[in-house]
């Protein structure tokens, strides 16, 4: 039960925040005036009459960067998980059941990650040389 209390608290502030946001949205509608006129209905384009629709196809120049982000962001999630266990604080080395010392554990973790990061950097350099970060 005790460890659930923070989550209850998060739930409480979620209710508070959602209530606050909804009340804010409604207050503007309830208190503010509603005066319609044709000019107000136009989309804002620096005072000019809008040209065409806003729902047009827009070239996304950073499409390739977006794809690379999906890949590399997942790699950083692996990094986070590795970083937390790297020191071996969670393992009871003193008990003697582990089979290796804390220092050995850290050396192993370092070299294992060095290989992973090496491959990751190869990918980064490849993407860079291929022009993956340039605007297409």
């Amino acid at each position: 039960m005790e460890h659930l209390i923070p989550y209850i608290a998060i739930g409480m502030i979620l209710v508070f925040a959602a209530g606050f946001a909804v009340v804010n949205s409604l207050l503007g509608t309830l208190i503010g005036p509603t005066k319609d006129n044709p000019a107000k209905r136009l989309a804002y384009e620096s005072g000019m009459v809008p040209t065409g629709e806003a729902n047009v196809r827009i070239p996304i120049k950073f499409y390739m960067v977006g794809l690379l982000f999906l890949i590399f962001d997942i790699e950083t999630i692996f990094l986070l998980a590795w970083a937390v266990v790297f020191k071996g604080n969670q393992i009871d080395f003193a008990s003697g059941n582990v089979g290796f010392t804390q220092t050995q554990f850290q050396h192993y973790g370092f070299f294992a990650m060095a290989v992973f990061i090496g491959v990751l950097m190869l990918a980064e350099i490849y993407a860079w040389k291929k022009g993956g970060f340039e605007w297409s």
Binding site: G28, R41, Y44, I77, N89
Partner: protein, 398 residues
Amino acid sequence: MKLIDWLLSDPTLVYLTIPLVKVAIIFVVLVGSVPVLVLFERKLIGFIQQRPGPNRVGPWGILQTLVDGIKLLLKEDFIPPGAVKPIFILAPLLALVPAMLSVTIIPWGPPIQVTIDGIAHTISLGLADGISVGILFYFAATSIGVYGIVLAGWSSNNKYSLLGGIRSTAQLISYELALSLGLVGVLLLVGSFEINALVDSQAGGFWNWNVVKQPMGFLMFLVAGFGETNRLPFDLPEGESELGAGFHTEYSSMRFAMFFMAEYMNIFTFSAVISTLFLGGFHGPIDPALLGIEVNQWIAAAFGVFWLGGKIIALFFLFVWIRATFPRLRYDQMMNLSWKVFFPLGVVNIMLTAGIVAFAPDQPAVQTGALFVAGIAQIVGLDAIANAAKRRALGHVS
């Protein structure tokens, strides 16, 4: 008093009453901090630009933001006819609610022991600082906030808004990497996601703070944070000199105010998070125990709030100072900065940190010294590379 007696009568109800009181306090502080921060920012920018800033409403203009809020409340709440109505209404909620959630992980001081009706309770000075995912909750909550901005831009049926939304996406894929790579260095040193573990590891004095052990990580996290909070030099989604008002061009009345509040709450939370991760959290520069002073738990808690609050104000000062002095980056420049500078450098920083933790002698002083030297060396190297690139670019022009 009947109500309080009833709430305290049952042990299980006490478990609910304590968080409820904390939620109320956090809520009031968060909502109350927005007008104060806005006034502080406007006054400070006025000072930097050698003009008075707001000075008409109330002494020293202190009522200005309050009056602005009332003005927004009395304005028409207008939804453009071409807008996608459900998403247009939902977007400000998606921006504001996560902004209020993410502050809950911050502990404001050491826990307090109290006895209610003979049962001892340990009250932490934070709402959800005990959750095991800790800092990941902050990342999760703020990532949802980005949806608010992107959807607001998309649903407005306005070209400026759409461009603002697209830029927000471009910004997200730029700063996220630097943000998590900056964090990895700290996680390597502490070995836990839990906020309390992160803060406790920095107790004792300022030489234990993570900014000393991770100068490069701190720098990356700070720069990425400016992108995360949409502040200059990375306020691309808003870009008021290029895009009207960017993603919230078509928003008015309280819906606009919600985006506005969300932005300042995000700055508040980000300042608190970076203080907690890198600047010792609620710990002061020197632990009173080292000076031979014993403090009782209430004074320790008061000092915790004092130090963390002071750090938040100092960081907010930095935010405003940079806003007043830096030009805005183009968004391909920001992508280049993130992908070609911070990503390789972040990886180097992680391997250096891991190498020092694994191979340097296991003494705190040696490790701290080595980490400090490695971090400063990286910053000096970065500066040298940047200067060389600048010279090359200038030579190319002339």
